[in-house]
Amino acid sequence: MIKTFKEIAQSLDNASAWQQKYREIMLLGKQLPAMPEVLKTDDALVPGCESKVWMYLDFDLEENTLVIVGDSDTRIVKGLLAIVLALYNGLTPEQVINTNAFAEFQRLGLIQHLSPSRGNGIKAMVERIQTMAQQKS
């Protein structure tokens, strides 16, 4: 079962030590369904990453919601990706625009993972999601 963002936030808040937090994040990654191999194209690769990160972005016209699929070859990044997906997947463009991943990551004590210097692709992902939302809104 995929956790909602609220549930994720709660379990991260409950983490007593940083190790616990990472354990939680990696667990989230584990629970994220693997991305179908056919979607792992070069185009889907988020560039400039040390770890491999794939992201597939689509728009469901009927539902007027964003569809996001992602994967990574590292556990921690995959976990962070799961958090981003929990935040944004299935939202309407307007909802996406009103959801500030930076603020949420800040609140979760994970903001350093969104730093451009991390080069882990999470920041690039969030930006791509926001860009698509702007285009579709």
């Binding site: 560039p47 400039g48 040390e50 350093q112 730093s115 451009p116 210097s117 991390r118 080069g119």
Partner: protein, 404 residues
């Protein structure tokens, strides 16, 4: 409010004795002095935050990377350009070389490159080499006998020769003269000419808005803008920048490497191979912050006041020939006394604690144009005060007494 004494206190090197007399530093065109914040940032980096940037998964490396990229943003904002339009180089010289080299494949024997006769060697020799490599013709803009450009002549020259590339200085290092860039850049644009402006001298004094200036490339050196040595920058309009062929190759600038093939990254990374001058980049951002905190208008007004005061005093000395344009100048006085050798004047001035430069100032073609072997150059920055001028003029008069 522009409190010159408060500002001088920020520059520790100014407060020293040279030959038992207070230093009067009039060699800012060669390199500027550094404010405390720049010195402290350098120290702080090495004593605490030192780490290599990019690809490091540990805290120190991330902090360094963050500060490094933040510095790029600070400097880009200062010049009003996009972050990815700024390439770090080791100096203005390297920046010109990077562009001249990167254009090799875009030029051929039908191409025309225009420079000017008052360029610093750094903005001459790389273009000579490019012309040699490609068979392109290298021409120089007309310059009046007095070392000033006639705008109309220049515009006509550009219209006539329709250059592919025009490389010209924003201000002359030997004379301080400002180039009438607006008209020249406009004329170049009409001809679809790629333009490179050598801002090594001007950037500190004019703090140019590069979007407004509307050139394709602009080069500068950090050490002439209150920053550390070993760092410079290249602005390139993104499309033109990215279309340059790669220059130095190695780590950092590649996407992937096999033993047989390499895929390069996009600009600016494409041009930044190897470990960058991390400490200098971070400290340079502090130099720019320092400059921004002073009000540009006040800085410029003060510099011009000092320059005019010095020019007037210098003019009043019998036997002095001034080569600088006194109407349109970033604050540099280039002169000789009768036919005395600049070396003698500079050496004697040093006895009085006055630091000036003598010689050809890496602008031999200009010296040939002016019919001199060299000159004495006193170059001012905003941290100079009226007392500096008084001491300089008094010392010069004593030198003259010694020589006469």
């Amino acid at each position: 409010m522009f409190d010159i004494e408060k500002i001088r206190a920020d520059f520790p090197a100014l407060a020293q004795l040279i030959n038992e007399q207070p230093l009067v530093y009039l060699d800012s065109a060669a390199t500027t002095q550094k404010p405390l914040s720049v010195i402290a940032a350098t120290e702080q980096f090495y004593a605490r935050n030192n780490a290599n940037v990019h690809r490091g998964r540990h805290t120190l490396s991330e902090q360094a990377t963050h500060a490094y990229e933040q510095a790029r943003a600070t400097v880009a904002e200062f010049f009003n350009i996009a972050i990815n339009e700024l390439v770090w180089t080791k100096g203005a010289t390297e920046a010109v070389n990077l562009v001249a080299n990167g254009l090799t494949e875009q030029l051929n024997s039908n191409s025309v490159i225009i420079i000017s006769p008052l360029e610093h060697h750094a903005n001459i020799v790389p273009w000579q080499q490019l012309a040699k490599r490609t068979g392109a013709t290298l021409l120089a803009l007309p310059l009046q006998q007095d070392g000033r450009f006639n705008t109309q002549q220049c515009v006509k020259f550009i219209e006539l020769h329709k250059p592919n590339v025009l490389a010209i200085t924003h201000a002359s290092n030997a004379l301080g003269n400002l180039t009438p860039l607006e008209a020249i850049l406009h004329a170049a644009k009409q001809q679809n000419t790629l333009t490179l402006i050598d801002g090594a001298q001007a950037a500190l004094h004019l703090q140019p808005d590069l979007q407004q200036l509307d050139c394709d490339f602009y080069v500068f050196s950090a050490h002439k803008m209150l920053g550390p040595t070993g760092l410079g920058g290249l602005y390139g309009r993104y499309e033109q920048l990215n279309s340059l062929s790669v220059y130095q190759t190695g780590g950092e600038m590649i996407e992937s490497v096999t033993l047989t093939e390499t895929i390069f990254r996009q600009a600016p990374a494409k041009f930044e191979s190897g470990t960058p001058n991390i400490a200098a980049v971070i400290a340079f951002a502090h130099a720019i912050e320092y400059l921004k905190a002073l009000d540009t208008t006040n800085v410029y007004a003060h510099e011009q006041a000092i320059f005019n005061y010095a020019a007037k005093k210098l003019q009043s000395i019998d036997g002095i020939t001034i080569y600088s344009d006194l109407k349109s100048n970033i604050g540099t006085l280039s002169f000789n006394y009768k036919d005395e050798h600049p070396y003698d004047i500079a050496t004697l001035l040093d006895g009085f604690g006055i630091a000036v430069r003598s010689g050809h100032h890496c602008a031999q073609p200009l010296m040939q144009h002016l019919g001199i072997n060299g000159s004495v150059r006193a170059s001012f920055a905003f941290y100079n005060n009226h007392q500096d001028v008084d001491l300089f003029i008094a010392a010069l008069q004593e030198c003259i007494a010694l020589l006469d």
